[in-house]
């Protein structure tokens, strides 16, 4: 009786109310911490995407200068009505000179002003000869006429036009001097200098000039690697999983394989790179820098993911399916391959796509096997030197020129778009074909 009354007195006391308030405050604080931490993580995600996207949008554009170029037969050194082959053989030096002369005329630089001319030269890209040659080859009939051509601007001009470099810097710290900047401004005002879509980003290979560099080699290299990973990791992974799940006897060896697969899934990717270097390149003498080696290494890396996903998918198919097949006279092999495997296919494909997405974003093992070379030509087979998309990003991130920062972000956007598509496909596959038994 006294106990109850003292307790009642205590709960009505100021001390108890204070304690309750304190405990509720602690509750609110704890809850706030949780919210705050999620907000911090989301903030990081937002900053990451903002940095990449705001920087990368610039990378999809490049500065061009519109100049009327007189393509006289005389200055090109060909006959009127020359064949595309003859036009192809025109020296790059000649074409560069024609383009530069056209720019001098446009800027109103007199013939004798040598220093001004060499300053004006720095406005145009080193790739203008290729550009003119392409125009001539596409339409040989334009020889003899003057055409307005959007010539690629030099990589030094680009960041100024995009406003990435402060133009109020002292002149000796800028890539463009005052004269060149004045020209850029005048051309821009005349509507002769503008940002255009950078189609070269998708068609060019490596280059030291940001305006001429592209991801074509990397895209094809990554494509070869992906094809190899699908071709190697899917059959081997599914085979291994089918054996372990359906046929393997319970013994030491099977346990060993299982432990092994789980550990292999957690081995750092760079260790797979060392494996590739030691086994595929130094021992089997496969070519360095080639997608074939990259594909093999990443296949081995993806294998545990595929095996684990396949085993989960096979295990999710109810045993009644198998028993029904066995009951009507199918062999165990037939029951597995005709009934269980097709039903497990959506799960297997989901696992494969997730593994592929990881392989597509992997960089370190590819660096180890030498896929970091500057490759100019688009590879025609998996044995030719190539790079891969993430490696290209790594290489560009290390380039000192300002223009490469935007290109790197653009390449990252391309990579993220691929990854997002793959992951979305996996999610859709899972949602669409998920079966509840």
């Amino acid at each position: 009786m006294t106990d109850a009354s003292t307790a009642k007195a205590y709960f009505q006391s100021e001390a108890a109310a204070k304690l309750v308030r304190k405990r509720y405050a602690a509750e609110r604080r704890f809850r706030f911490y949780g919210m705050a931490m999620i907000a911090v993580a989301m903030f990081f995600l937002a900053v990451l995407f903002y940095t990449i996207i705001s920087g990368g949008i610039m990378g999809f554009q490049t500065t061009s200068i519109k100049v009327p170029v007189p393509l006289t037969a005389e200055s090109l050194g060909v006959e009127q009505g020359a064949t595309p082959e003859q036009l192809r053989d025109i020296g790059g030096f000649k074409l560069t000179k024609i383009a530069r002369n056209a720019l001098y005329t446009q800027l109103g630089i007199a013939d004798a002003e040598k220093p001004l001319k060499s300053q004006a030269d720095k406005l145009l890209s080193n790739g203008i000869d290729t550009q003119l040659r392409e125009i001539l080859q596409n339409d040989p009939a334009i020889v003899g006429s003057t055409v307005d051509v959007w010539l690629l601007a030099h990589g030094a001009v680009d960041p100024f036009v995009k406003g990435q470099i402060d133009r109020n810097l002292p002149e000796d710290q800028r890539l463009l001097n005052n004269q060149q900047l004045a020209w850029v401004d005048r051309l821009e005002k005349d509507g002769r200098l503008e940002l255009q879509f950078n189609s070269g980003l998708f068609t060019n290979g490596a280059s030291a000039d940001p305006e001429l560099a592209g991801v074509a080699v990397a895209l094809i290299g990554s494509l070869f690697i992906m094809i190899l990973v699908v071709a190697a990791a899917l059959p081997i992974g599914v085979g291994a999983a089918v054996y372990l799940e359906e046929f393997a006897p319970r013994n030491r060896f099977t346990d060993l394989v299982e432990v092994n697969i789980n550990n292999l899934a957690a081995v750092p990717s760079i260790v797979f790179g060392i494996l590739g270097l030691a086994i595929f390149i130094n021992f089997m003498h496969l070519p360095r820098s080639a997608p074939i080696v990259g594909g093999l290494v990443l296949s081995l890396m993806t294998l545990p993911t595929v095996i684990i996903a396949t085993r989960a998918a096979l295990g999710a198919v109810p045993p009644s399916i198998k028993e029904a097949a066995l009951g009507v006279g199918a062999s165990k092999m037939q029951a597995v391959f005709h009934h269980i495997l097709p039903l497990a296919m959506p799960g297997i494909l989901t696992g494969l796509i997730i593994g592929l997405a990881r392989a597509l974003g992997e960089t370190a093992p590819l660096i180890m096997i030498g896929m970091v070379a500057a490759v100019f030509e688009v590879p025609s087979s998996p044995f030719d030197p190539a790079t891969a998309l993430p490696v290209q990003i790594y290489m560009w991130a290390g380039m000192p020129e300002r223009g490469f920062v935007a290109l790197t972000s653009a390449a990252i956007i391309i990579l993220l778009v691929f990854l997002l598509t793959m992951n979305a496909t996996a999610v859709v596959l899972r949602k669409r074909f998920e079966r509840r038994w």
Partner: protein, 458 residues
Amino acid sequence: MSLSILVFLTAGLTFAAYMSGVFRVRAVSGGNLSTLHSRPTYYGAYVALIVGLAALCVMILWLVGENILIRGIIVDGLPEAVRNGPPAEMELALGQIANAAKAGDAFGAEPYVSQLAATYNAVSASSRLYMTIAMFVAAAGGFAVAYSQVKPETRARNRVETVIKAVLFLCSCVAVLTTLGIVLSMLFESVHFFSMVNPADFFFGLTWDPRFSAAGSGGEAGQFGLIPVLWGTIFITLLSMLVAVPIGLMSAIYLAEYAGPRFRATAKPLLEILAGIPTVVYGFFALVTVGPFLRDFGGTIGLDIDARSALTAGIVMGIMIIPFVSSLSDDVINAVPQSLRDGSAALGATKSETIRKVVLPAALPGIVGSIILAVSRAVGETMIVVMAAGVAANLTANPFEAVTTVTVKIVSQLTGDHEFTSPQTLVAFALGMTLFVITLGLNIYALHIVRKYREQYD
């Protein structure tokens, strides 16, 4: 004949064998398929398997033998001086010959190179011809044997299934072979390395300075010291855990205990996006955003922070690790039985008291396991540290300075222009071995903890 054409031809032959097996068994059965032991396709598959395997076995054996044979012939043809010289030089000469044979031109190398290149081409051409013949003979022999066995009483399905089962078994061995390959390749080169550098100097050395140890001279004491490099890895991992564990754990708690289903359905996938972003993107983020930001921020409050610092790498790696901690912890917290929470609430505890005093202690083994897995992930992470942590091996506890890690050194030692047999290159394998052992140990320990305490409430 090129290899790819041969493979295609073999595939064509195999298909022809399949068809002939099917037709043969139909003819033998006289249209009454129920007299057959197996369905006709199995007889076709049986013939095809025998033909294909015979041809492939011959091809693989021949290709392995061919390399050894041709190498022997070329080595015999090398001038005395080269053959008896150092092995590295002989390998170089062999490489030159192989290149010259491929290009059809020795490009002004020694005269014996172009001579031997011609021999190389002649021998390999004739070897290819014999191989093709041998393959066809084997395929024909296999076909004759298998075709004669296409009879109703032959148990074709059982035989085919035995072969398929063997193939499946081989598939599951690939994973074991991969581990074996990893261990052996690194062990072999590490032993090679330790024959040049004293293991004690490697594991306990306090100086990392491989540059001044010339090839073959045997590194002097302390030059390949692991400690500063390993310290960099541990330091950055610690910093990243300081970021990832509070954020990841509190996020997991909030998502599991407080969040409504709709908030959970949005926030969880968003957090997991962080895990799907390639590490090279994080590296770039650290390089162009976080590093310069920290440097400028440090400048304004009077701290000297390098753009490439342990702090930069640690923070960015921590962001990357958040989803590993949060998703695993989330699963573990959800696995704590509801009755524990109800019991605690019945005693009058607030929700946060329940979480702190009941749920978290119950989930602790799983949470520790997930943190250890995250640590193992951070230790093996390469691209962020390569791009953001720097290359100088500093033994420092100052997070504002550049440090280097085991993975950075593996990359820089193996992509440099060193002779492959020099300790400068081989040290990468010893580092790789160290990394492999550390991550393996962490993984096994994490699984052990999770497994040991998991069954408590079942």
